[in-house]
């Protein structure tokens, strides 16, 4: 999943450079959502935090 996050990140960076605004915003939000899900399910337990 982490690999997928970075792939999406790279693609969104390229679309931002190409000036595709809406596509970039969509990819950005999908990437951020995936990263947040990863953090919630794996990052928080691994860091020892208790919510």
């Amino acid at each position: 999943m982490m690999v997928l996050i970075f792939v999406l990140l790279l693609v969104s960076m390229l679309t931002a450079w190409l000036g595709r605004r809406r596509l970039t915003v969509s990819l950005f939000l999908i990437t951020l959502l995936m990263a947040a899900l990863w953090f919630w399910h794996q990052g928080i337990p691994a860091s020892g935090l208790r919510l």
Partner: protein, 197 residues
């Protein structure tokens, strides 16, 4: 009667609205936005390059949370790149703000635990980017510049994009080697811990 009332209201609103913005102030806001964007992009690129350098110098793979911090900062960079390529807009600053908040949330538990590593710098950069993005969002709403076309990409902009793209590719390669397509090893947290921490 209704028409008169409506007309009266419109006149009242016109009187209450701020006067038409003078072009120099708008131009100044635009210059400020460009300068802040370039400054933030350069800071993010420098920090990510330093993180990669530390990783290779210690020959220790970064922990999964550290990778997530880097992803968050790269996302901040995507929002800033949009600003440079298509002109400043409130939605771009909102994206930067979201990514900076996420990065700060990820970096916060680490910054205290590993004070000798780069995590406090990651946290400070994320918070700084958030504060600057919020300030620029306020400027953008007060002095909207989106009517103007985006600047053509100069040498600085191109160099920053190439640098950020190279850093993203390097991080992708690092993540692929470390995690592959499965879950990242949690043991990397212990390996990342700097000596004395």
């Amino acid at each position: 009667m209704k028409k008169v009332k409506l007309h009266h209201r419109i006149n009242l609103l016109r009187q209450l609205a701020p006067p038409e913005e003078a072009p120099p102030r708008r131009a100044r806001a635009r210059q400020l936005s460009h300068a802040v964007t370039v400054l933030l992009l350069a800071g993010i690129a420098a920090l990510l390059a330093a993180a990669l350098a530390v990783q290779f110098a210690r020959r220790a793979p970064p922990c999964p949370q550290c990778l997530l911090e880097r992803a968050g900062l790269l996302l901040v960079g995507v929002g800033l790149l949009l600003n440079l390529r298509t002109g400043p807009r409130p939605v771009h600053y909102a994206l930067v703000l979201l990514a900076a908040a996420f990065s700060a949330c990820v970096a916060l538990p680490h910054a205290g635990a590993y004070a000798a590593s780069l995590d406090p710098w990651m946290l400070a950069t994320a918070l700084g980017a958030g504060v600057l993005a919020a300030t620029m969002l306020g400027f953008e709403l007060r002095y909207p510049t989106r009517a103007a076309a985006a600047r053509p990409a100069g040498t600085t902009t191109r160099a920053l994009f190439v640098l950020l793209a190279a850093l993203a590719v390097a991080n992708l390669a690092s993540v692929t080697v470390e995690c592959g397509l499965s879950r990242c090893p949690t043991g990397a947290v212990a390996r990342y811990r700097p000596p004395g921490a």
